[in-house]
Amino acid sequence: MFGTNIKEEVDVCVVGAGHAGCEAALACARLGLNTVIFTVSVDSIALMPCNPNIGGSSKGHLVREIDALGGEMGKNIDKTFIQSKMLNVSKGPAVHSLRAQADKAEYSRLMRKVLENQDHLTIKQAEVCELLTEDNHIVGVKTFTGTIYECKAVILCTGTYLKARCLCGESITYTGPNGLQSANHLTDSLKKLGIEMRRFKTGTPARMDKRSLDFSKMEEQFGDERVVPFSFSTDPEDVQIDQASCWLTYTNENTHEIIRGNLDRSPIYAGIIEGTGPRYCPSIEDKVVKFADKERHQVFIEPEGLHTNEMYVAGMSSSLPEDVQLAMYRTVPGMENCKIVRNAYAIEYDCINPRQLFPTLEFKNIRGLFSAGQFNGSSGYEEAAAQGLIAGINAALSIQNKEPFVIDRSEAYVGVLIDDLVTKESFEPYRMMTSRAEYRLILRQDNADLRLREKGYKAGLVSEEVYKSVLDKREMIDKEVYRLKNTSIGASKNIQEFLSLKGSSILKTGTNLSELICRPELSYEILSEIDVNRQLLPADVIEQVEIEIKYEGYISRQMRQVEQFKKMEKKKIPSDLDYNDIKSLRLEARQKLISYKPVSVGQASRISGVSPADISVLLVYLEQFNKNNKC
C-alpha cells in the first residue's frame, strides 16, 4: 500500500456497488448523509454477473418490500425489463411472485445514473483495503492508494469479490466475477478486527451466441399478456411493452453420460473447491449425481439483453473444463452447434458468519460497521438489495442517534431473511424461499405497500404523499369489506336464478355479499350484477378486498400465530446481561447465547441448541433482572 496524504471526511463509506451497495448508499444519501460508494470498477455498478432476472418465487416479494420501504430495485427493473411473468398464479395469493428478465446492461446503466444523480452521494473507483477503528468504533477506511476516508459508519457489500477465485475445470483464475479485479486485502484487515470469516462458493452457467442456437427445437416461453410492475410507484401502463422470449429445452441421457464420465475433472468432485455451495442452485454435475434417476433436466435459454447476442443457459451451471462443457452443452436439443461466448465457472469468495451481526446488520463487536449481501453469506440480487437497504437505513439512523430499524418475521420477508441470517446456523449461501416464511399468508407481494409504507415513511425514505395514499387505500379496503359484510342478500327469485346461472348452489336462508364472495366459484367481480350499491374502486383496492374476504379464516388463524410470536419478540434481552450468572442454563445453551447475543427472547428461542426449558429459565431470570433494575 502506498502513502498519500489525502484525507477525506464523510459520514458513510459503502464498500462495493453491487445490489446491496447501491441500496445502502442510496438510503444513506437520501437520509441526508454524506456518502461515498467504492467500487473496483465504475463499469460494474449494479452488475448482474449470474442470472439475467430479478424476482422469482419469494424473491419477488423481497423486491416489492424493498420498493415499499423506499428502495430502488423495483423502480429500476420496471424500466429495464424485457419480459415479465407472475409465477404461481394458479396457486394462492401468498405465493404469487413476480419475475422479470432484465436487460443486464440497461439495468446496470440506469442504476449507475440514479447513483450519479443522487445528492450527497459520491462514486469512487478504488479498492478499500483497511478498516480504521478506535475502541471498537469505526473511524474510517483506507484505500489501496493510501487515501483515508474518515467516516462514522462503514457498510461492507463486497459480494463475491473478497479473495475471489474462479474455477473452470483445471483452469483457475484469481479474479472476481466476469474477470473483474478481486479484492485481496480487506479480508486480512477484517480478521485483525476479530471478525470470523468463512468461504462460500457459487457458480454460473455458460453464455451462448444466440446465432449458434436452433430455437426451432425448443419451446418458446412468453411473458404475461398483462404485465404487473414491481414498484408501487410505477404506472402499470408504462410496463406494457413488447417482450422478448425465453426458450425451454432439456438435457438427456447423453448429456448425463458425458458429465458422469468427466466428474474426476470437476474441481468440486476432485476436491479443489474448498467453499460450500448452495444446494438450491446445484450445478448440472450435482443434479446428475444427486438425482441420478431423473432422465432429463430443464434448461431455459434466456436473453442477457436486447442489444447483445449472449444467451444465458439457466439450469446448467458448471465448473467442468471447457472441452467437457462444450461437449455437454452440444448434446442438448437446439444447442448442437452452440458457440460459447463465456464459459461456465464456479467462484469462491470470503464472507462472514452473519451471526456476528445484530438484526440491524451492525457488527456486534464493532460499532458503526455494517454489512449486507453475499458478504453476509446470502445469495441472490434481491436478498443482497434487501439487506443493503436495511443496513443503509440503520447506519444512517445510528449516526443520527435514532432508534434502530428492525423488521420482524411477521412483518416482511426482509425480516425473515435477516432474522434467519443473524440467528440460524447456515453452512451454505442463504437463499430466500417461501417455505422459510412462517406467516406468508400475511406477507403477500400484493400487500407489501400496506405492510411497509409506514415503516419506510418513518425511516424517512417514503414521502408523506405516498404514505398518505396508502392510508387512504387501507381505509377504502376496510370500508368496502365492512359494506360487503353488512349487505344482506335475500333468497329472492332473481338471486337464486343468478346463483344457479353462475354454477353456485342456491340460498337456503338470507346471507350477505361477503359470504358469497367466499364461495370458490364466485368473486367480487361476478357479484357486481347483484351488488347494486357498489362504487367504482381502484383495482388494487378490489384485489385486497377480495383476498381479505376469501381467505379470512386462514388469515385470522395466521394472525393468532403472529400474536403468539410477537409476545416473545417483545421480551427484550438487555445487552449487558451476563449469561454466566444464570446458573441453571445448560452449558450448550449458555455458550450459544453468549456468542449470538440475541436481542429478544423470541430470537433466543430460534437459536439451535437453545431448548424450550432454557427459554423458561431465561424468562424467569429476566423477570427478576428487570425487577432489580427498577428498584
Binding site: S57, T434, Y551
Partner: protein, 479 residues
C-alpha cells in the same frame, strides 16, 4: 400482559382417595364455571366469594345449560364426578392469578377426565413447573425459590424424557414418527413446487394428497379414539392368561401375584369366571385377567365362557397362553390357538416337571399353521416355580423393545400427547376442507405444517431445518 389459562393435575398421578385439578389464569373461574353445577343445576362459581369451597358436580354439559342432578343419579351419564371446588381470586392465590382447585375422587382416569374437560372448556395443559413459574413472574415468590423450580423444570423434562423414551420407543413414537415423515414429505413437495414452479409441477397433486389426508385423518382418529376408550380403569398392559382347565393358569397368577410385586387392586370380575389382578413388574404395570378354562364344548353355558374369553383376548395387548405340555394338544388348545391368532403371545409350555409330550417344535409348527406368528415360547413349571423369571424377562423385553405397550392408556395417562394429537387431527380436518373447497396448494401446506409441528411436540422435535433439508434432499431444485 394477557396470559392464557393453564390446568394440571396437582396431586400424584396414582390411584388415591382424592385428587386435585388446579386451573390458573384469567379465565380460570369462567372455565370451571362452565363445567361445575350445583345439585339443582345452577352455575354459581362466578358469583361465589373468594376462598370458599363449594359442593357440586363436574358435568360434561355440551349443548345443555342446565343439568339437574338428583339423588338417584338422573343424568348420570352427564355427571363426571361429585366434587368440592375452591375458588381463589386474584391476587390472593399461589400464582396470584384467579385460581380454581377441583377436589375430585382419586384415580388417574377420573382426574384425566376432569382435566380433559377443563381443556375442552378453554384451558391449556400446564408445562412442568408452570404454576410456580407464574407465581414467580407475578412476584409471588423470590428467585431462590424460583431457581428451585427451574431445577424441577429441568429434572422433570429429564424425567419425562427418561420415562417416556422407553414407551415412546414403542408403538406411539413409531406411529408419530411415521406420520411426521409422511407429512413432511408432502409439505416439502408442495414447498419445492412453490419455490421452483418451473421445474416442479403440482398438477393432479390434489387427488393424491386427498388420499393421503384421509389416511392420516383416520390414523389420528384411531389414536384419539383409543384414548377416549375408558375400558381400562387403570393404566397398564392388558394381559390375558388363557389355557384349558388345569393347564396351570391359576398357579401362574398366584406366583405372579404372590411374590408381593405390589398388588394395587384386587377387583373381582363381573362374572365368576374372570379374575383381574394388577401387578407391577420391573416398573411395568400389568393388568392380568385370568379367564376360566376354555374347553371345546357344545354346552351352552360353557360356550358363553368361551365367548367371554374370546372377548378379553381380543382386547388384550398381550396373551399368555398356558399349555399343559404333559398332554397332547387337543381341540381346546386348537380352539385357543385360533382365537389368539394375530395377537402378541407368550406360550408357556407348563409342567416341565412331568414328561414332555408337547415340544417347542410341535407347538410352533401348529401355531404357524394357524397363522399365529409373533410368539415366544417359554418352558415353565408353575408347580416348581421354574421359568417364571424367563416369563418376566420376556414381558419386560417385549415392552422395552416396543413390541407391546401401555395399551391405549399411553394417551389417557398423557393428556399432553392427547392434546397434541387432537391439534394435529384438527389441522388435518382443515386440510381436508381446503381440499374440498379446491383451495390452492399453498393453503394445504399451512395446516399440514401445523399438524406436523403438533405431532413434533410429542416426541420433542421442532420444525427447525427439517423442511429445508427435506426439500433439498428429495426434490431437484432448478436454477
Amino acid at each position: 400482559m394477557k396470559t392464557d389459562t393453564i390446568a394440571a393435575i396437582a396431586t400424584a398421578m396414582a390411584d388415591s382417595g382424592i385428587g386435585i385439578i388446579r386451573i390458573s389464569g384469567e379465565e380460570a373461574i369462567e372455565i370451571a364455571d362452565r363445567m361445575f353445577r350445583t345439585r339443582s343445576g345452577r352455575r354459581i362459581l362466578r358469583e361465589v366469594t373468594s376462598h370458599t369451597i363449594n359442593y357440586g358436580y363436574i358435568v360434561d354439559n355440551f349443548g345443555e345449560e342446565k343439568i339437574v342432578v338428583d339423588e338417584v343419579g338422573l343424568n348420570a351419564n352427564r355427571v363426571v364426578d361429585e366434587v368440592m371446588v375452591s375458588v381463589m381470586k386474584s391476587p390472593c392465590s399461589y400464582t396470584t392469578e384467579d385460581t380454581v382447585e377441583i377436589n375430585c375422587h382419586g384415580g388417574v382416569l377420573m382426574m384425566n377426565r376432569i382435566l380433559e374437560l377443563a381443556v375442552k372448556n378453554g384451558a391449556r395443559i400446564a408445562e412442568p413447573g408452570e404454576f410456580t413459574k407464574r407465581a414467580f413472574l407475578n412476584g409471588r415468590i423470590d428467585l431462590s425459590r424460583a431457581e428451585a423450580v427451574i431445577d424441577i423444570i429441568h429434572s422433570k423434562n429429564q424425567f419425562a424424557l427418561e420415562s417416556s423414551v422407553s414407551q415412546l420407543k414403542g408403538s406411539v413414537s413409531e406411529a408419530v414418527q411415521k406420520l411426521r415423515q409422511e407429512l413432511i414429505y408432502e409439505i416439502a413437495f408442495i414447498e419445492s413446487a412453490l419455490d421452483d414452479p418451473e421445474h416442479i409441477s403440482l398438477e393432479g397433486y390434489g387427488e393424491k394428497l386427498s388420499e393421503k389426508t384421509e389416511n392420516i385423518i383416520s390414523r389420528l382418529k384411531k389414536l384419539l379414539d383409543s384414548s377416549d376408550n375408558g375400558k381400562m380403569l387403570k393404566e397398564g398392559i392388558s394381559t390375558v392368561i388363557v389355557g384349558k382347565p388345569n393347564a396351570g393358569k391359576s398357579s401362574l397368577l398366584n406366583i405372579l401375584v404372590g411374590e408381593e410385586k405390589a398388588i394395587v387392586t384386587d377387583i373381582a370380575g363381573t362374572t365368576r369366571d374372570v379374575l383381574e389382578e394388577s401387578i407391577r413388574l420391573h416398573g411395568i404395570s400389568l393388568n392380568i385377567i385370568d379367564t376360566a378354562g376354555i374347553r371345546y364344548t357344545e354346552d351352552v353355558v360353557e360356550k358363553i365362557g368361551v365367548e367371554r374369553a374370546r372377548k378379553y383376548a381380543s382386547l388384550a395387548d398381550l396373551i399368555v397362553f398356558v399349555v399343559d405340555a404333559s398332554l397332547p394338544l387337543d381341540e381346546s388348545d386348537y380352539d385357543i390357538i385360533r382365537m389368539i391368532s394375530g395377537k402378541k403371545v407368550i406360550v408357556l409350555l407348563n409342567k416341565t416337571d412331568l414328561d414332555e409330550v408337547v415340544t417347542e417344535s410341535i407347538l410352533t409348527d401348529e401355531m404357524n399353521a394357524m397363522d399365529a406368528s409373533h410368539i415366544r415360547v417359554i418352558k415353565t413349571s408353575t408347580k416348581e416355580n421354574v421359568g417364571i423369571d424367563l416369563l418376566e424377562q420376556a414381558i419386560k423385553d417385549m415392552f422395552f423393545q416396543g413390541e407391546i405397550s401401555f395399551n391405549d392408556e399411553v394417551f389417557i395417562t398423557n393428556m399432553r400427547h392427547k392434546e397434541a394429537i387432537m391439534n394435529a387431527y384438527e389441522s388435518m380436518l382443515q386440510v381436508r376442507s381446503s381440499l374440498e373447497n379446491d383451495m390452492p396448494e399453498d393453503f394445504y401446506s399451512i395446516d399440514l405444517m401445523s399438524s406436523y409441528s403438533s405431532l413434533g411436540t410429542i416426541i420433542g422435535e421442532e420444525v427447525g431445518e427439517d423442511l429445508v433439508n427435506e426439500i433439498f434432499s428429495k426434490f431437484c431444485m432448478g436454477k
